[in-house]
């Protein structure tokens, strides 16, 4: 029986498994890999956990005061046992470490999941998310529309305090920080509405700072983009400045167009030097061997 099967059974018996926002029900390869990695690590860990649960009751029973076990008050060492209690954890740590290494590199959030990803720029605000679609020229608040089966690259920054962005059924968290850019690559292999949210406390509206991720068929997505373009509202720098004041947005907002380069301008508010092309100085992260791993704005490179 596969892990999915087991959890599926559990889901039937246990309330809450079928919640809309959990990686226990992955809707894309990243969340799916994270879920199965969770299972693999848990299973491996049973190697050190089960013996304790089996041996401890036996030892307690046998060596209780008045029990049958021989009393050996001065016994304190045995090389054989020593090799076992160091050896097994070391071997296990090796196995776990290898699994970790492989998984971490393979599912690096910065690694694009295919050619020509859909790029969406995400600006974390108090207490809402702004999504910019450079390709489509539209923008939304608290609605992330995505096409099914197309790689997506999210570029994130913050217009306010640090936030942590997650869509549990698609991919895990990445921080959004002012003046910096982080990336999250994902792919949705199912259509539907999935909850996404900020998980880093940022004040009074934090508890309600969630958004809908709406995954549609590619055609439906194209249709959605067209329909959104027809929206009269436009987002420019002045409109963006208004978004900076904290507010809870309960219904998604759609903008038919936005000022190109707005994402860069948001970052430039905090790190102007970088965006103007002097990015090598200042707070750049050390150059990572991995492509695209800079906290600096793209324009700085």
């Amino acid at each position: 029986m596969t892990l999915r099967g087991i959890v599926g059974l559990l889901a039937a018996a246990v309330p809450g498994t079928a919640s809309a926002g959990s990686f226990l029900e992955p809707a894309g390869p990243i969340a799916s890999a994270q879920f199965s990695h969770f299972g693999v690590i848990s299973a491996l860990m049973l190697i050190v956990i089960v013996p304790m649960f089996v041996a401890l009751p036996i030892v307690l029973y046998r060596y209780r005061r008045g029990g049958k076990g021989t009393y050996r008050p001065d016994w304190e060492f045995n090389w054989g046992l020593e090799v076992v209690i160091w050896g097994i954890p070391v071997a296990l740590a090796l196995a776990l470490g290898m699994a970790l290494w492989k998984h971490t590199l393979e599912y690096d959030p910065y690694r694009a999941l295919g050619p020509e990803p859909l790029v969406v720029e995400v600006v974390a605000l108090d207490w809402k998310f702004l999504f910019l679609y450079p390709e489509q020229g539209v923008a939304t608040i608290n609605l992330l529309a995505l096409p099914e089966d197309r790689p997506v690259t999210l570029r994130l920054t913050s217009g306010t305090v640090m936030q942590s962005f997650i869509i549990p059924r698609l991919a895990g968290q990445i921080y959004a920080m002012a003046g910096m850019q982080t990336q999250l690559n994902l792919l949705a292999s199912e259509t539907g509405d999935f909850i996404g949210r900020n998980t880093q406390y940022n004040g009074l509206g934090f508890a309600t700072q969630s958004f809908t991720t709406r995954v549609m068929s590619p055609d439906a997505f194209a249709g959605w983009a067209e329909a959104t373009k027809a929206q009269p509202a436009a987002l420019d720098a002045a409109g963006f400045a208004k978004l900076l004041s904290p507010s809870v947005v309960s219904e998604p907002v759609l903008y038919g167009r936005f000022t190109p380069g707005l994402f860069g301008q948001v970052m430039a508010r905090f790190a102007p030097a970088m965006v103007q092309g002097h990015g090598q100085a200042g707070m750049a992260a050390p150059p990572a061997p991995h492509q695209g791993h800079h906290h600096m704005p793209e324009a700085g490179r």
Partner: protein, 709 residues
Amino acid sequence: MNWELIFGQIKWNSFVFSGAIENPSLSEFIASGAGFIAVLGALAAVILLTVKGWWVPLWRDWLTSVDHKKVGIMYIAIALVMFARAVIEAALIRAQQLSAYDGGGFLSADHFGQLFSTHGTIMIFFVAMPFITGLMNYVMPLQIGARDVSFPLLNAISLMLTMAGAILIMVSLVVGQFSTGGWSAYPPFTGIEFSPGEGVDYWIWAVSLGSIGSTLTGLNFAVTIYKKRCPGMTLFRMPLFCWTTLCTSILMIFAMAPLTAATIMLALDRYAGFHFFTNGDGGNMMNYANLFWLFGHPEVYILILPAFGVWSEVVATFASKRIYGYTSLVYATMCIAVLSFAVWLHHFFTMGQSANVNAVFGIATMVIGVPTGVKVYDWLLTMVGGRIRFTTPMLFHINFLLTFILGGMTGVLLANPGVDFQVHNTLFLVAHFHNMIIPGVLFGMFAAVQFWFPKVFGFRLHEGLGRASFWCFAPGFLLAFFPLYWLGMMGATRRTYMWSDPSYLPWLALAMAGAALILAGFALMVAQIVVSVRRREQLAAPLGDPWDGRALEWSIPSPPPEWNFAVLPQVTARDPFYEAKKAGIAYRSPAAYEDIEVPRNTATAPLIGLFACAWAFALVWHIWWLVVVSFVLMWVVVIVRSFQTDTEETVPAATVKAANEAFLAAARAAPGVARDREMTSENRGRALPEGLEGRSGPVSSRAPVEVLP
């Protein structure tokens, strides 16, 4: 009249009660109620002290004392008082989340933010830290055969700085608001732009005082262990609790500094317009995350290592057996101490660094699991070949082995960046660290209280109530936190004052039931202490060895005299007192007595604490004249003290001899108590060693005793 010059930013509506008047709501009433309880508690303490005439004894015998034993007791008293507050806050958090489906609940978002921030800050800095520090203070010098720590006055100053921090947090209940930035206080949210007002400043100064106190403690204890061991007490003959104390002290020295640096830098950002961690102007909050967790991860081991030491003592004593794999445990502890500085980044895998960096720190985190796993199995093997008694501390230990290993499993899960991406900042994470800290540290400290209480006060704690409290605490913990794992996997974010997924409800209800059980456990523990004090005659064990103990502290009377050891012991093996009992040479009179120098009590430490508290309060409220005055006074006290030369007094040899010979005679005359009678009133603290019933106990009291002139 410029009131601001005098009162800084304190206004009449800074007081918590004004909130209930201006904006009556249940949330405000609870806040006012808490402030009211704090004020009433302080008032009740003042009245009690006055009515009973305890002010003078309190000052003379306790606050001015530099005796490591009294300092230790005061630390633990702080921990218990603060625990009472923080555990009630925990119950409020649980109750709010249970009732908060779709915006219900009784607390405002802001009040909830303050609650989780004070709960975390208090539990770490003013419960766990003083608890372990108090315990190390009391026990470590006794176990290494020392008369005090190396720097007794510094020790008292550490205590008073910690107390000042604790008082400051209690004051925040009444005057002003506390931070809503959580116990880790991440900027830029905690910067002045997003958190104006006094809340974060309370956090900064309370934590700074505590962390400076802990740095001094670390230095003090490390030096004590290096320099004050009694003759023959080589490092590898020390009880394991001393080893873990040493490792914790080393960690304190190196790990508290980054925290102090981070809080001071955050303060400069807030007070002086610096830009260490701000958005823009060159500030970068990632530096804060690194500094904070460079402290924060070793901190985890600062807390757990002393508890590991307690577990080692408890399991060996109540299995009546040598510890299995002593050397292995020592090396495992040292490995943990060193590795604890190499894993801090796993607290922010989600910050966007390269996958290689994440993988390295993830693997380092798994490596640190190896020595921890070894220790767990060493304790299991210690029981093999023993004669296990299921006393309260032992019950806590068994519970620890089973639950801690599960927490270890979720810790390894979290060490995987891929898993962490999903469950970071969720209740899964909350469940994990509570799973390590409650059965590990907190229950470790409770076990230590049960174990060493008769040493400290000369009478045992009521065993029945102890077990009853265990049977509330242990299942209470499971109920309160295992549902949180599941909630976290379902995507429930931490620190939310409301939620909207109906499937969370049953799990939150279970967690609430667990919280209620934990509260019941705490109530039973308080009842246990009260009942035991009342029945102290019945429970008395003045002869010092109620549990058939193994290390030096059990060889002296309970409570120990001010000078601890009449004559410094000579140690020739591990478990020296056990070996002495086995060889029939315990309770021998020493060859000769000498005068003993003990440090005089001094008002230095409490005065420094008082001025530090005033200084911090003034900083919080921008009362600049008081900032200057209290800072100057603090240093005036230090300077005045440095001119005092007569800081020690002598206890004459005759006094020491009279006290010690009386104790030894009583111990020799007392019939030994076998282990199956240890929970009866027959147990006066003279043990018949397990397995030696045939030739020890009464035998040794008949045996020729070497009484030298």
